[in-house]
């Protein structure tokens, strides 16, 4: 095993180009577990800790360019306003110690369906900025990023530089079910973002299909129902039948398995419950905000 220590992003890309099998390690919270338990013996470990760029973020007009290694604890504390869904998701990641080390780059690189960040990224809308020494930078829409169980759209010579997450234009929520009240891997998770500017709703589901997925039929249904009822304008409470239909469609978007963490049937059920609750929370928040604006 060789330990590569690039001091800059350019050196990191060069190292990855030279050794496409090199395994990038940043927070180490996935890779080191595999090494400690002898599940993986990569020829090269590519340490990204010294690449300072990866720990920075820039808030632009429409989106936040979030460095791949910005720790979850920083996202929780500093990006709650811009990225509320991701901040909530970050708070559910493992433990304080892990949140201090791990970043979204690791979740994306591993592409486990159980990664906590995915549903929030899918719901907010995001693009993954990847780069290679040979071909420079390219942007991968988050919807195209996950290609299979623990597989992503990354080429062997590419590294994840950042993720560009759309700044919230409305309330966002995130829920995750685990069989413990802290430090738990998702049995399933759900992210929801209201986008009042486009009058759309986006979702993200984790751990309930081979990849993280959006519940597109549910989104389309809800977009139409909200438009039809004039809800965005009149700010009425969403009718229970609409919420139920939305929840059912979210559950139907799952393609889960039975495993030691939960049954497929439970996952489908829980996604439905979380969809209904997060819709209620975000919609209440949207109504409250409208009300406050109106009063002011």
């Amino acid at each position: 095993m060789d330990f590569l220590r690039p001091a800059s992003w350019e050196e990191a890309l060069a190292a990855k180009a030279e050794h496409p099998t090199a395994v990038p390690i940043a927070g180490g919270t996935d890779v080191m577990v595999e090494i400690n338990f002898d599940h993986r013996r990569p020829e090269y470990l590519l340490d990204l800790n010294r690449v300072g760029d990866l720990y920075e973020w820039e808030t632009g007009e429409d989106s936040v360019r979030l460095g791949a290694s910005v720790p979850y604890s920083t996202i929780m504390e500093q990006l709650r306003a811009e990225l509320p869904g991701l901040a909530l998701a970050s708070h559910t990641v493992a433990s304080p110690q892990i949140r201090n080390r791990g970043g979204v780059g690791g979740n994306l690189g591993t592409a486990s369906p159980a990664g906590d960040a995915h549903p929030a990224l899918l719901a907010a809308g995001a693009e993954v900025e990847v780069a290679s020494a040979a071909r420079g930078t390219r942007m991968i829409p988050i919807d195209d990023f996950y290609t299979g169980v623990k597989r992503n759209a990354l080429k062997p010579d590419e590294l994840i530089r950042a993720v560009h997450v759309k700044k919230a234009d409305g309330p966002q929520q995130y829920s995750k079910v685990g069989t413990r009240n802290a430090m738990v891997i998702a049995v399933c998770a759900f992210g929801l973002a209201l986008h009042p500017e486009t009058r759309t709703v986006r979702t993200g589901i984790g751990s309930a299909a081979p990849t993280p997925v959006r519940a597109k039929a549910a989104e389309e249904f809800l977009d139409a129902a909200l438009a039809e009822g004039g809800f965005w304008d009149n700010g009425k409470i969403i009718t229970p039948s609409v919420a139920k239909q939305f929840a059912d469609l979210c559950a139907a978007a799952c393609n889960p398995i039975d495993d030691v963490r939960g049954t497929a049937s439970y996952r489908r059920h829980a996604v439905g419950v979380m969809a209904r609750r997060t819709l209620t929370w975000t919609w209440e928040s949207y109504r409250g905000a409208r009300h406050t604006e109106g009063a002011a």
Partner: protein
């Protein structure tokens, strides 16, 4: 490979480190600092918690090479760390706060009498928060960091801050007592 970094204020060098070794292994097996514990080696128990450039992390998930040039504080250095913090008066810990809390050197101490302890260490002993003690070093590092940035934590704050540290003996009640005790002594010291 060779790794150079600072542990508890001292420069350290480890040679012939296998590239897959964790910081935890290097601390325990190469530097003679076994205080950080190897309970799960998968980031699910917090027993190996150390401060890496000030931040609590699981040292089992830090590749040894990633510690190059960085600053590590382990449980062995906690008393010094607390003492320096109180001298520097930084981050809410009152000056000289640690002074009155040195180990009592009780009559039944087998060893370690008269050693000056960090306030959180003394509180763990006094509150009965130590049973087998295997989780203790990690909990101490995490609790000390909590009180550094939040001198008056609510119970829910304490539980959240320590939710990455498993204990199998105590049922956590005495650990809660210990952190409350350390916080109270800290605020009395103001």
């Amino acid at each position: 490979m060779r790794v150079n970094f600072t542990v508890n204020g001292r420069p350290q060098e480890a040679d012939d480190v296998w590239e897959g070794e964790s910081l935890l292994y290097v601390l325990r097996e190469r530097l003679g600092l076994p205080g950080s514990k190897n309970a799960c080696e998968q980031g699910e128990c917090g027993s190996c918690t150390v401060r890496l450039d000030g931040v609590p992390v699981c040292s089992c998930l830090v590749a040894a090479g990633q510690a190059e040039g960085r600053d590590v504080v382990t449980v062995e250095g906690l008393a010094d760390h607390a003492r320096q913090r109180s001298r520097g008066g930084s981050e809410g810990v009152p000056l000289d706060a640690a002074k009155g809390w040195a180990a009592k050197g009780g009559t039944d101490s087998q060893a370690g009498e008269g050693i000056e302890l960090a306030p959180i260490q003394q509180a763990f002993i006094d509150a009965g928060a130590v049973q087998c003690g295997f989780c203790t070093p990690g909990l101490l590092v995490a609790s000390d960091e909590l009180l550094e940035h939040n001198p008056n934590p609510s119970d829910a704050d304490i539980r959240e801050a320590l939710s990455g540290n498993l204990c199998r003996c105590t049922g956590y009640e005495k650990i809660m007592d210990a952190v409350r005790l350390a916080a109270a002594r800290q605020s009395e010291g103001v």
